[in-house]
């Protein structure tokens, strides 16, 4: 547990929770990122403006942080493009089919004690842990 950062994790987590609550109180919307992203892509969608505004704020955050000296480090990703593309396809298709991701199910849904969200979170945590176990320990990647 050498890299465990409980204080910054708790502060960051509280901000994520605060954002979800403020979005619900102000606009009545669920802060599920996959749902917001899909809403943006759906050509028949009703109101896209709040989706664009939320995602705009999300992308603006590290840019503003950079201006005050807390720039975001370039994310270190797998160098294998096939893995990146397959992962992206699975995340896009899976969150759409399952109706949510880490934010929508994992935070907003569990906060409302939704049985669907509790189940979804257990399932995606389990398959993610298995995937990491297989790729990092069995395949030696």
């Amino acid at each position: 547990m050498a890299n465990f950062t409980p204080v910054s994790a708790a502060i960051g987590g509280a901000l994520i929770g605060l954002s979800a609550v403020l979005l619900m109180l102000s606009t009545g919307r669920v802060a599920g990122i996959s749902g917001i992203f899909a809403g943006l892509l759906n050509w028949r969608g009703e109101d896209k403006r709040w989706c664009i505004a939320f995602l705009g704020g999300l992308i603006l955050a590290p840019i503003l942080a950079g201006l005050i000296g807390y720039g975001m480090a370039q994310p270190r990703l797998s160098s294998n493009w096939a893995v990146i593309v397959v992962a992206g396809l699975l995340v896009g298709f899976g969150t759409r089919l399952g109706g949510g991701c880490t934010s929508g199910h994992g935070i907003c849904g569990i906060a409302r004690l939704s049985p669907r969200s509790v189940t979804a979170t257990i399932v995606f945590m389990a398959t993610a842990i298995i995937t990491v176990a297989v790729t990092h320990h069995m395949l030696g990647g």
């Binding site: 547990m1 890299n3 409980p6 910054s8 994790a9 708790a10 502060i11 960051g12 987590g13 509280a14 901000l15 994520i16 979800a20 979005l23 109180l25 102000s26 606009t27 009545g28 919307r29 599920g32 990122i33 992203f37 892509l41 939320f54 705009g56 704020g57 999300l58 603006l60 955050a61 590290p62 942080a65 975001m72 990703l77 797998s78 397959v86 992962a87 992206g88 396809l89 995340v91 896009g92 899976g94 969150t95 759409r96 089919l97 399952g98 109706g99 949510g100 934010s103 929508g104 994992g106 906060a111 049985p115 189940t119 399932v123 398959t127 993610a128 995937t131 176990a133 990092h136 320990h137």
Partner: protein, 152 residues
């Protein structure tokens, strides 16, 4: 306010992901790697987020309508079904492969990293592939209801 409020919420969400370190795929993978050098930070992030959002949503339940909208848009589906289980399972595999879920991936577009741009483009293809597939199913069985409704 209908634009400014979600913009500010996006900023706060992004700040939370940045401060917690969850924008870094390596940090997320270290949480998922329970057989390696396990880093429980992600669990603390979720617990802290829930400690704020659970009472906060109770507050929202008690008000008749949101400040800047006519109604609450709550997920309509209840009950666990096969699309939920299959979708969550596929999402988990993709998440475990690179350590990116939609929030951190979209936020990281700010870095203009080619890998992130590729991931988000693939993610968009996955979303659209699902929607086209559901649309086909719907036209094929016009009387039956649409299977997938987004929870969040």
């Amino acid at each position: 306010m209908r634009i400014i409020a979600p913009l500010l919420c996006g900023l706060i969400f992004g700040a939370g992901l940045l401060i917690s370190g969850m924008v870094q795929p390596a940090k997320v993978l270290a949480f998922l790697d329970i057989f390696g050098a396990w880093d429980p930070s992600l669990a603390v992030v979720m617990a802290a987020a829930l400690a704020v959002s659970a009472p906060g949503f109770r507050l929202a339940d008690r008000s008749a309508r949101p400040w800047f909208a006519g109604q609450y848009f709550q997920p309509g589906k209840s009950g666990v079904d096969l699309p939920l289980l299959a979708g969550a399972a596929l999402f988990g595999i993709g998440w475990g492969l690179v350590g990116l879920c939609p929030g951190p991936a979209l936020e990281s577009l700010a870095t203009l990293s080619p890998g992130i741009i590729g991931f988000v483009a693939a993610m968009a293809c996955g979303v659209m592939a699902h929607d086209v597939w559901q649309q086909r199913r719907l036209t094929a069985q016009r009387d039956r209801p649409l299977v997938s409704v987004t929870d969040g």
